[in-house]
């Protein structure tokens, strides 16, 4: 993708207008009333964000500096929890697993969603399009834990339907969940199957917003199907791709239910993710300080990855 074909046509503010100091006029009584009303409307959201997001984040940062086992009073630990975390091979492996999971799961999720969105957006009866849209989105409305329980049965090496079907065509049973190599792939597969519906809907919406005239003009100029997708569809869909990838990556970095139910992090640590480590440290081993330290590191990782995405988006995302 390059930005030479689709010029950035967003209105730009004149530099002078941004830099010149302007004395703000004294707000009238009506303006003050409007501001008060706006504040009242925003208040529930702001209170919600403060109570359920800001306070827990600050709380986690503070707790990461303490030893706390729920039973006794917290004791100040300074950076000891962070030192412990960096010296714990399980934590480091969980970060590696989570990053591997994120890369493959998000790439696969976006690819499948995009291909299916392009296919569904092609020529087909309206009713069939609706059926596909509903079918692809349906797994997303189910709980990840219940899907994982069902998938655990399906992928069971000895009694699962998947291996039974493979057996009918002569394949040996595959240890989907009990071998280190296959387990992560299976967890990714289950996650992507459930999650791609969200990206799919975004892409369908994004494709519908691309003016048909651009495609028609390209066809008149002799562009073929694949070329049209690469030079027109993808650049114009790039803002949607950005949103889908940002949401996808944030969700993937917080994956918990699928590995917890399917493999419980095993075999060994091969599918143990960061959020699983947080859960185990806090609620099974009563090390809330260490769990918070891992949580803070995950928060920093998510912020860094998201910031990097937005930074890169300046080069690769094109707005009409």
């Amino acid at each position: 993708m390059t930005n030479t074909r689709i010029p950035d046509v967003r209105p730009k503010q004149p530099t002078a207008a941004r830099s010149a100091p302007v004395a703000a006029p004294r707000p009238s009584a009506r303006d003050r009333g409007t501001r008060l009303l706006a504040t009242l409307f925003l208040a529930p959201t702001i209170v919600g964000i403060v109570v359920f997001t800001v306070v827990p984040i600050v709380g986690s940062v503070v707790l990461s500096l303490f030893h706390w086992n729920v039973i006794d009073s917290p004791s100040f630990a300074g950076a000891a929890n962070y030192r412990e975390v960096f010296g714990d091979s399980t934590v480091l492996v969980s970060f590696r697993n989570t990053l591997v999971f994120m890369v493959f799961a998000v790439a696969l999720q976006l690819l499948i969603a995009l291909v299916l969105a392009l296919a569904v957006n092609g020529r087909m009866p309206v009713w069939l399009r609706s059926v596909f849209r509903s079918a692809f989105f349906f797994p997303l409305v189910l709980s990840a834990a219940s899907i994982s329980v069902v998938m655990k049965y399906l992928f069971n090496q000895d009694f699962g339907v998947v291996n039974w079907l493979l057996g009918l065509v002569g394949f040996a049973p595959v240890p989907w969940l009990t071998s280190e190599n296959a387990a992560m792939a299976t967890v990714i597969l289950v996650y992507v199957w459930q999650q791609f519906g969200f990206s799919f809907l975004l892409f369908v919406g994004g494709l519908n917003n691309i003016p048909k005239e651009i495609h028609e003009a390209a066809s008149l100029d002799g562009a073929t199907g694949l070329r049209k997708h690469l030079t027109i569809t993808l650049p114009l869909l790039s803002p949607t791709l950005l949103v889908a990838s940002v949401v996808g990556i944030i969700n993937a970095l917080q994956v918990f239910e699928q590995p917890y139910v399917l493999t419980n992090g095993g075999p060994g640590d091969s599918t143990r993710t960061v959020v699983m480590v947080i859960y185990e440290s806090a609620f099974e081993q009563l090390r809330f300080g260490e769990a918070s330290a891992v949580g803070v590191l995950l928060f920093v990782l998510i912020m860094a990855v998201t910031a990097l995405q937005f930074r890169l988006s300046r080069r690769f995302v094109h707005y009409q």
């Binding site: 086992n69 655990k152 090496q157 009990t178 992090g265 095993g266 060994g268 099974e284």
Partner: protein
């Protein structure tokens, strides 16, 4: 941006904001910490008992509350059935309640959590047991001392066991018949066991798993460690406990008893531990058993009852489970775990632990006694969903409908094998269990993987045991 002159009016406004914020901060700082108990209606003066939800359905809860109300009309009782998939999940939820300031008075605790609760949260029952010794004499006479000892910690008793489950072997009779094999004798050996699995495999084909087990602390690798006369952690007895043994048990039964079990030094790299893992790895290699699978064996009932599994370790709880799954009483039977170097078997027990934070300790003790009564347990365990801790409750009549025919095996695992003991569950049990499950998964990838995985297990267990809970 705005007028930089600070007017008197602005100054007054910001002053008022500052005073308001300071007042709010002061008020917040002067308040006691709010807890879940401060929510109106939460603390209604009831004695709150937390039980494992799936084991205590609405009918069981009604039985407990209505029966208790008849005996103690003055004590208000509330059963909090905590929904959890296993004991580890249950403890996590109880600890969350404690963190939220809504700790129950009593918690139903299994062997996995006995020492953790005793060390950090529990109240010893010694003074009440001594006070009500006459009333309890009949209870102790009916309960095997190994179960009682498993509820002791450093010389004190923390729970009265009401149920237990030992890892015995369940065999599918239809599969045995298909293999043309006889039902194994009580003193069968590990080699007999292996030969039986081979016979079953030959007769039942590739889609069949002769031996199925679940990778967990209870009933996973541990029964094989016990059979091979070893354990994951060194096992010894704490001193003390004579006050109880001398009062309630005859000399023959109290011999060798102490103040509870101590599991201290990890020994995962011990030769016998390696031998047990190597044996399981060889069974996997020969396709005689499944690879270690996590979870709680939920899918096992279905595959066992339909003859796709021949043999599995389970406790008395499975008799009720198989019956509910539609298996006829004659469709399966039980036998002791096979002998290797010994025929020592493992069990887990459960009872009610009294929390230090409880303000109703006398009432709680009355509930503990009520919950251990024979008539209460008869009503509570009427579907054979577990093995009652009271020996007298295990009768032919109880197992007539559900099976198995050899129901005596359940309690004889204790009576005929007095060295049968609890699964290793020190206060650091959560981490120990996690390490065990993690490295068992990798150790059994192949026979060559056993030794390196056990060395890593040993190292992780040492770290886990060094930690203060």
């Amino acid at each position: 941006m705005t007028d930089s002159h600070l007017t008197r009016r602005t100054l007054l406004r910001y002053g008022a904001y500052g005073a308001g914020a300071a007042a709010l901060a002061g008020t917040a700082a002067s308040w006691d910490r709010l807890t879940g108990a401060d929510i109106p209606g939460r603390d209604d003066g009831s004695l709150v008992v937390a039980t494992l939800g799936p084991a205590y359905g609405p009918e069981a809860i009604r039985t407990l509350t209505e029966g208790f109300k008849r005996v103690h009309p003055d004590i208000k009782l509330r059963i909090n059935a905590v929904q959890a998939v296993d004991w580890s999940d249950f403890f996590a939820k109880i600890l969350t309640q404690i963190a939220a300031g809504t700790a129950p008075d009593l918690v139903y605790v299994a062997t996995e959590g006995v020492q953790l609760f005793a060390q950090r949260l529990g109240v010893p029952l010694d003074r009440w047991v001594k006070r009500d010794a006459e009333e309890l004499r009949e209870y102790f006479a009916d309960v095997h001392p190994s179960l009682v000892e498993s509820m002791m910690y450093e010389g004190s008793l923390y729970q009265l066991p009401v149920e237990f489950n030992a890892a015995d072997i369940y065999l599918n009779n239809q599969v045995l018949k298909r293999a043309g094999a006889d039902f194994p004798a009580a003193d069968w050996t590990r080699d007999d066991f292996t030969a039986l699995l081979r016979d079953m495999k030959r007769a039942s084909g590739s889609q069949f798993t002769p031996y199925f087990w679940t990778n967990r602390l209870w009933g996973g690798v541990v029964p094989w460690l016990f059979a091979n006369d070893t354990n994951l952690l060194t096992e010894s007895k704490a001193p003390g406990g004579a006050w109880l043994w001398d009062s309630f048990y005859p000399a023959a039964e109290r011999a060798g008893r102490g103040g509870g079990f101590r599991w201290t030094t990890p020994q995962a790299d011990h030769a016998r531990v390696e031998e047990a893992y190597d044996y399981l790895a060889s069974l996997i290699e020969e396709d005689l058993c499944n690879r270690p699978e996590g979870g709680n064996g939920q899918n096992l009932i279905g595959v066992f009852s339909t003859g796709r599994v021949g043999v599995t370790p389970a406790g008395g709880f499975w008799a009720g489970g198989l019956h509910l799954a539609g298996m006829k009483a004659g469709g399966f039977d039980t036998q002791y775990f096979p002998r290797w170097r010994t025929q020592r078997m493992q069990f887990g027990a459960a009872g009610y632990a009294l929390l230090r934070t409880s303000k109703r300790q006398e009432e709680a003790w009355e509930f503990i006694k009520y919950a251990a009564r024979r008539d209460t347990l008869m009503r509570l365990f009427n579907t054979n969903q577990t093995t009652p801790a009271r020996r007298s409750m295990l009768t032919a009549d109880r197992y007539r409908e559900t099976g198995p025919d050899r129901w005596q095996v359940f309690y004889d695992t204790l009576d005929k094998f007095p060295d049968t003991g609890p699964i290793p569950a020190p206060p650091q049990v959560a981490e120990v269990e996690q390490v065990l499950l993690k490295h068992t998964g990798t150790a059994l990838a192949s026979r060559r993987a056993v030794a390196p995985a056990l060395r890593r297990m040993q190292s992780d267990l040492e770290k886990a045991m060094e930690r203060d809970v």
